[in-house]
């Protein structure tokens, strides 16, 4: 199967896994064995947070209340991230395979795929895939001849809010509310959609689930690093010759990755989207893995002439607009940081105020209600850390 995913260092996995292969192999196992296999694979969530998938499934499986829900998070909104779009376009069956395996494992009867509004053009395509799977018995009643294993998937459309990628905000949105993250605990595995146990997995995570059952746990674990098993899709954009989606094993260094994509002269890269860290050239030997530089797979490359203050401005502008506006640190903190960047541009930001802003950013990182507010200032802080002279030494524009 042809794919737009690229790699020169390793084989491409998704194109080599036939639809329903992983699903059929998984459904031959008991529910406990499915979860055990995922546990052993050391698969971690591919959305960015890196929570062990096996643990999540286990918690939901242990819940006795029904119905349960197996939800796919296709609200890929992290700036610089587009791998899920490619997966949904080219390998949707792997995603639905993964969902169905998860449903079997936790005992879910309904699945929802929350598709971001910006991917509206994929809606019909996915509906067609779901319809086909219903026809061929991969969704519906008594799937794979397992009596009582009923599972169906609905495609739910988002309506344009980055924060809905946060799983509890996604649930709120599915229930018809503003996409405002909930207090946790309770976690969705205990009380999720409609107050019922729910597992929310990223598109890529679910596709890997199907691959793990197709190719084996050992195969998966043989790649990557100790704490970050397997391959990972990377969304590469910015100042490089060959932007696109790449498949690499976890643990690849930034330098090696930049060589692959033709971005060797970069002065820095933004890892993990807008909410991730800005890694300067001096740290390009660091490895992309949960234990070193964690990432949901997005790398934005900044060429030698890029203005890092402008980048901080763009990122903060994004967060100001996409904050759900619920909790104080995120709602009011991001605009203050953005204003600070503007003051730096104008040369009106005193060092004392800059220190106040750094303190504010640290507060936002620990006191915000959800991951958005906890990470929105990460890029700002790392740019200040690594490019302080560039940012501070600026003369006001005429």
């Amino acid at each position: 199967m042809s794919t737009s995913i690229k790699s020169s260092t390793n084989e491409l996995t998704f194109a080599s896994v036939p639809a329903a292969d992983g699903l059929n192999k998984a459904l031959a196992l008991s529910r406990v064995d499915i979860i055990d296999a995922i546990h052993e694979s050391k698969l971690k969530g591919r959305g960015g947070a890196g929570f062990p998938t096996g643990t999540k499934w286990n918690l939901a499986a242990a819940e006795t209340r029904t119905p349960k829900y197996m939800i796919c998070n296709a609200d890929e909104g992290e700036p610089g991230t587009f791998k899920d779009r490619v997966i949904l376009t080219e390998f949707p069956d792997l995603v639905f395979d993964g969902m169905t395996i998860g449903a079997r494992a936790i005992g879910a009867s309904l699945g929802l795929l929350y598709l971001r509004a910006e991917y509206g053009y994929l809606h019909e395509h996915l509906e067609n895939v779901v319809a086909r799977r219903r026809k061929t018995g991969l969704l519906g009643r008594d799937i794979a001849g397992i009596e009582g294993f009923n599972y169906d998937v609905l495609i739910a459309m988002g309506a344009g809010a980055y924060v809905c990628g946060e799983e509890t905000a996604l649930i709120e949105s599915l229930e018809g509310f503003r996409g405002e993250p909930r207090n946790r605990p309770p976690f969705p595995v205990v009380s999720g959609f409609l107050g019922r146990p729910s597992v929310i997995n990223n598109v890529e995570t679910l596709a890997w689930v199907a691959c793990i059952f197709s190719k084996g746990v050992e195969w998966f674990r043989s790649y990557g690093t100790g704490a970050s098993a397997g391959h990972k899709l990377f969304s590469i954009s910015g100042d490089c010759e060959h932007p696109g989606v790449y498949e690499f094993p976890f643990g690849i260094t930034v330098a090696k990755l930049l060589k692959e994509v033709g971005g060797e002269d970069a002065k820095a890269v933004q890892v993990g989207g807008a909410s991730g860290r800005c890694v300067p050239r001096s740290e390009f030997e660091r490895r992309l893995a949960f234990e070193d530089v964690p990432t949901g797979g997005s790398i934005v490359v900044f060429g030698p002439d890029r203005d890092m203050r402008a980048i901080a401005h763009n990122i903060l502008d994004f967060f100001v607009d996409e904050s759900c506006g619920q909790c104080t640190p995120c709602r009011l903190g991001n605009p203050k940081l953005l204003q600070g960047v503007e003051m730096l541009q104008e040369g009106t930001c005193s060092l004392q105020y800059l220190n106040d802003l750094k303190g504010l950013a640290r507060t936002m990182q620990v006191a915000s209600k959800c991951g958005l507010g906890q990470t929105s200032s990460v890029a700002f802080m790392s740019i200040l850390e690594h490019f302080e002279n560039e940012v501070l030494g600026r003369k006001p524009l005429l």
């Binding site: 700036p79 309506a159 344009g160 503003r178 890029r306």
Partner: protein, 173 residues
């Protein structure tokens, strides 16, 4: 709104609401549908939706204003959304934005008086490897340049009934 239009709206709302037995989970699908079909969600529509779902109108208003794609204000039939986030900025969205404003004759956040075109900013739409990118309703356009968006706008204009493009006008003259 005319009575017949209100009836039509009620039918549209009920068609979706009844799928979930008028559960609140229908709210966003309904708002999406109303926005798509009527290009806006007016005072009556919000109250009607609230009534059907058994919630308060202010809750409908609150949800609609939260999400970028279901804002209540009436938009043109063709909503241009240009991505302004990181990668598209690096790829030069600024000049594309300039061109769009010039060709459409409106600024960001505005709608043409004939209610055909709207222009607004969008946050990252997942086309970072092919930026600058924009959506026109649900159609995605990538690797935009000022020249390319000019052609796209002209093409849309020519599809509008009774519209005379600049080129046609030149030919006639």
């Amino acid at each position: 709104m005319l009575i017949t239009e209100r009836d039509r709206l009620r039918e549209d709302v009920l068609a979706i609401a009844e799928l979930t037995d008028c559960h609140r989970a229908s709210l966003i699908p309904i708002l999406r549908k109303v926005k798509e079909k009527y290009r806006g969600i007016d005072t009556y529509a919000m109250q009607l939706i609230a009534d059907v779902l058994g919630i308060h109108p202010v809750e409908v208003y609150s949800v609609a204003t939260f999400y970028s794609f279901i804002q209540p204000q009436t938009q043109g039939r063709l909503a241009f959304r240009l991505c302004r986030t990181l990668s598209c900025e690096l790829e030069g969205k600024e000049s594309v934005a300039e061109q769009l404003q010039r060709d459409l004759g409106i600024g960001f956040g505005e709608t043409t008086p004939d209610q055909v075109f709207s222009l607004e900013w969008a946050n990252c739409m997942g086309m970072c490897d092919q930026g600058p990118a924009m959506l026109v309703n649900e159609t995605v356009y990538t690797q935009l340049t000022p020249g390319k968006v000019h052609d796209i706008v002209e093409e849309y204009k020519s599809q509008q009934e009774g519209h005379v493009t600049k080129r046609q006008a030149e030919r006639v003259l």
